[in-house]
Symmetry: C2
Subunit: 730 residues, 2 copies
Amino acid sequence: MKESGKLTGHFTLPAQKGMDNVVKMLCEKWGADAIRDSDGTVLSEELLNLGYDVYSTICLIRADQEWAKAHPEQCQQKYLISHPVTCASNGELRIKIQNGYSHEQYKIDTEHDPKKYWEVIDRTTGKAVSTKNWQYLEHVQEILIESPRKWHIYTVNFLVYQIWETTSMYNYITNNWTGEHQMGVDPRQPETGRHLLKYLDHWIETHPNTDVVRFTSMFYQFPLIQNEKRQNAYLDWSGYLDPMSALAMDEFEKEKGYRLRSEDIVDEGYFNASYRVPKKEFLDWMDFTQKFVRSYTKKCVDRVHKAGKKAVLFFCDHWIGTEPYIAGFEKLGFDGIAGPCLSGVELRRISDVPGNLFKEVRLYPYFFAVNLQNEPVFTGNGDPVKECKRWWKGIRRALLRRCVDRIGFGGYLDLAVEYPAFLDYVAELANEFRTVLDKTKKTLPYSVGKKVALLDAWGKMRSWMHNDNWPQGHIPECLSGLQADTEFISFDDIRKKGISDNIGVIINWGTANSAWSGGKNWIDTEILVKIREWVYGGGGFIGVTEPSAYEYQGRFFQLADVLGVQKEVGNTLSWGKNIQPGLTSEHFILDDLTGDIDLGATNSSVYLSSEETRLLAGTPNNVLLSTNTFGKGRAVYMADYKHNAENIRLLYRTILWAANMENELKKWFCSNPNTDCAYYPEVKKFVIMNNTEENQDTAVYNGAGKMARFSLAPMKMKWFELEEINRLCI
Amino acid sequence: MKESGKLTGHFTLPAQKGMDNVVKMLCEKWGADAIRDSDGTVLSEELLNLGYDVYSTICLIRADQEWAKAHPEQCQQKYLISHPVTCASNGELRIKIQNGYSHEQYKIDTEHDPKKYWEVIDRTTGKAVSTKNWQYLEHVQEILIESPRKWHIYTVNFLVYQIWETTSMYNYITNNWTGEHQMGVDPRQPETGRHLLKYLDHWIETHPNTDVVRFTSMFYQFPLIQNEKRQNAYLDWSGYLDPMSALAMDEFEKEKGYRLRSEDIVDEGYFNASYRVPKKEFLDWMDFTQKFVRSYTKKCVDRVHKAGKKAVLFFCDHWIGTEPYIAGFEKLGFDGIAGPCLSGVELRRISDVPGNLFKEVRLYPYFFAVNLQNEPVFTGNGDPVKECKRWWKGIRRALLRRCVDRIGFGGYLDLAVEYPAFLDYVAELANEFRTVLDKTKKTLPYSVGKKVALLDAWGKMRSWMHNDNWPQGHIPECLSGLQADTEFISFDDIRKKGISDNIGVIINWGTANSAWSGGKNWIDTEILVKIREWVYGGGGFIGVTEPSAYEYQGRFFQLADVLGVQKEVGNTLSWGKNIQPGLTSEHFILDDLTGDIDLGATNSSVYLSSEETRLLAGTPNNVLLSTNTFGKGRAVYMADYKHNAENIRLLYRTILWAANMENELKKWFCSNPNTDCAYYPEVKKFVIMNNTEENQDTAVYNGAGKMARFSLAPMKMKWFELEEINRLCI
């Protein structure tokens, strides 16, 4: 990594055709050791021969458009649901099923028998209409229901072919491209499956200069459904709609022993989004998809290896089914994994991936005119340095907890070079990253004694994959940079394995009935018994928003006995809310607070249900923050969490308090919430970091609780040897 | 009514022992024609012989305390639920069942076998614990559960005797009385039932001067449960807990053919409060109670009549089971009904009672030191005139719609006489009331062509009995004074009778799953079909807060197709909310608005679900007010309603718009929302009224839509003959 004293490498540059000199200049300036192409670019022979590692991007499913055109029936499919139509007349009802969906993106599947694969559902009764009573009128793309029930609402679950591949469509529209729309084929189709492997072989042969094959990514994208106006109609970064096809429905039946209904996927129109508590059929569908994706991925990776090249998974776009947090990911043999990264959560999503593979993140801004929120960046008054720092601040917190091996950027250099301050800042950022790697040697930092477990309906499978609050970040974003290790556990984990002794705190966060809060899991006796037992014995439970929420047997928060609070959802209005203590203003949790507590929510309708509960913010009938004890255990209720420096500290203290670990606070600790620190015991290095663009003063405590004071320049990191920091602390 | 040109009478004065001169003075000043005693007072012979009608109060169930003391087992009973206890140890669990409940008010029933009448319920599983596995330890008032399941939550439904009668307790505590607590006996007990009738006979005999027997009221009070600290633990003005007894449980079984569970009454601890969608067992319990109350009431009334006296029902306190809006009330033979009244709703609750009986309201303030909110009135800096006007303003609106026959006050004169300005104001108010009576002759005012129907799970039975927002008032308070007739309909009414042609608008108002919104009724196909049919044909539907709300088959607002809006409850986060119109600022509904729309709520999470919907307030993803059309019908969504002059007007316009009756607006109409008017066609009288304590100018439109301008002094009413107003309008 060091080249005549200067840190270099660990950096991937997006190259661009026709800009060879710029590429060379930036490789030098940014210390890049690898170049890669982007969607729509092809690298010149000269660039390929510069001596850098060459990353070549391949998206197999859209790589061979000739094949796609020749085999439209092997393109990817999807179930859509027609918009609901109220039957307002006697006689027949017609539903124009594709209304509200893009005709550029989707084409109704007329290859497969609608009567076999589609469902017409009476949403007023919840029952499917008999296939005898409806027909599809292909010439007008309408479903005709023959004897509909007047004033009932009907929808149609129907299969479409996706005729515009999602990533291609996104890049197209964002960059105002013109020209042909690319299609995406489905490797589950045997003929296409065989063809794509042959295509890959040929591609490998014809890319002798490629060192690393970057799969961008495998086969099935998360759904990004557009309407006729090119607006997002539906977007779920974890959605499993895209691996669908008539063939998949049939193969599922063979593999799982029962036939899926279209409704199992359509899910009343909610599409089993990640915030929905998953049902068995959907989990089976995920498993079925994952098995296929893994087996086919393995074939691709093996081919790359056979050619002596490395294989990298770009963990975005068509990532569905590749989940690295499901056991067995290592067996796919990837040499590396890369992901886009604009937050601590997205950093950890990559850096925590198990297995001996290198990890790379693509930082933001992407060298596109606008950012993901469609705000100008590399255009007009855009400020790419500001945009970069905005995300890098959060990423750095997480980087100190679990470092990756490489960073990089994406997009088009011709846009970036117009902003010289940005070019300078990236050089600085790259060195900062390399310094972390160089100092820590990727060893793990000191963490407090016990772990934080985030409990939801998904658990490990969706580690660091909470996108509901993207890009602001919520509880997981806070956790990504905390001096406490995080584990993701599901209700099933608790059922099967109980709660591990090395967990200090369970956090349950989310709105009622969501997968994050847990929904009906909260009336499972086994869950309640195990959690109560564990908290009573000394565990910590932090409930945020609507924890343990499910209306049943006279309670909405099932763990009201643990939390000491209950929520008024309209069933207890007649009961006096007579527990009316004043605010507790002195509390370990609040000790670093400089202003008022602002966790986001101002109304919770949560009230105190125990005389023992202490109110830390809000009022007794509108609790915003409270604490309770349960046996030896402790519990905290927070009405919400808003991600900022003050609240990171507040949540950290909450975790330590709930876990009975207050005495671990002033151990490798910065007093100023705008700063962070980390100690790496294996290499005896210590770092303090300013997370703001202003100067910050902070007291710093070493592992023995001794203290020194430091002043840090904006955004700066300051490294110490163990002996050095110990000497300074008194 | 007229005595030498001066309006007099129609006024009941609360007399007081030892203040005969004051009574005489106030009878003269206020034009009273009747005097009555209050709880704890006895009138002197002199007062009784002054020539005024004498109203005597009797509360039979607490009238004979000697009987009560001699028959404690015939006192009233109630089911309570012990506070939930989490079982935190192996072995046995003990629950001190009366924890959290007043020991002054309740005594655990040890007369009847707990194993027969009580239930111990595992609230974690929802199952009752076998009676073999628990016992009641009387000496410590604990339930001992022998093999509880660790970490489950247990509660006990247990029977108590009420040893302090509720109204007596309330008056005691409010007035800091000392002395013996009065008990209330249960006329369902055959011996007590016979005794009370004998007692009544004797009482009648010994009250020869009494003209009117004022039953205050019959037998069973709404529940007002206190805790050990004399705080309200539970209060439901419509609650049916008090008619309970072991005997009632047994008789219910005989009458209805099945045995109630204690849990049918306890209802998970929610006690079937009026905001709960009623279940069949509870409706049966209400019916069972009503039958007994009516039959026993009839016996009382007959005895009063036999003695040549009149019988009046005080419609508060022990009113449970006397509901005047259930068919057959007239058969009880009451000569009058009286009720406390601090709002338009409470006025209409009395004035709308069917039958040929006189109607009297007791106005506020009660002559107590403090008001119902415990604020000072007749003490220190209290301002009883302000307190009186505060309520009278709202009452007057309703009075113009349906007038009562009499007004009165309650409480203790020694407190009132200390405030001479109050004595003067009541004289003024009494004349104002008598003027309404004199001018209108109790004929009905002009109303717009079609009715407003308020749809909830209760319907007519609970006409004007919405207490959830007491005393602020909500939609019903607005309706109580509108120039539109109101009907209260239930889902069952729609099932049985459909929707009447004379209804112009249905309002469905309330939070999801409440009796007001309707809960599961909204997934009853029959309801949906009938309402859609009716709206489509030209009806109006106004949904407030969470109308037609029940999560089912992909929708939360089941009538989203009618309303044009849907609510985000966490299931459609991934769906783009792409219907983003600007605000419609010009609309019939908004035409009288002078400032911003403020309906109370600022957050609704309601979004537009139709391109046709017009947004009148809020944003497309946080709709506060919107309109939609459905066939020939119209629908309006309002996120909330806050009662004030501006919003009364807004809701009135909303009703007219939704009912396609905009052209009825400027017909007997005041342009200024701070004023009201009414036209009485039978007597050809017209009145305009200033509802504020400032001067108000207003345009006034007569029945032909012609206009005149008036200026009204604070609080003033101005009466016109039809010819006069028609002459002034041009």
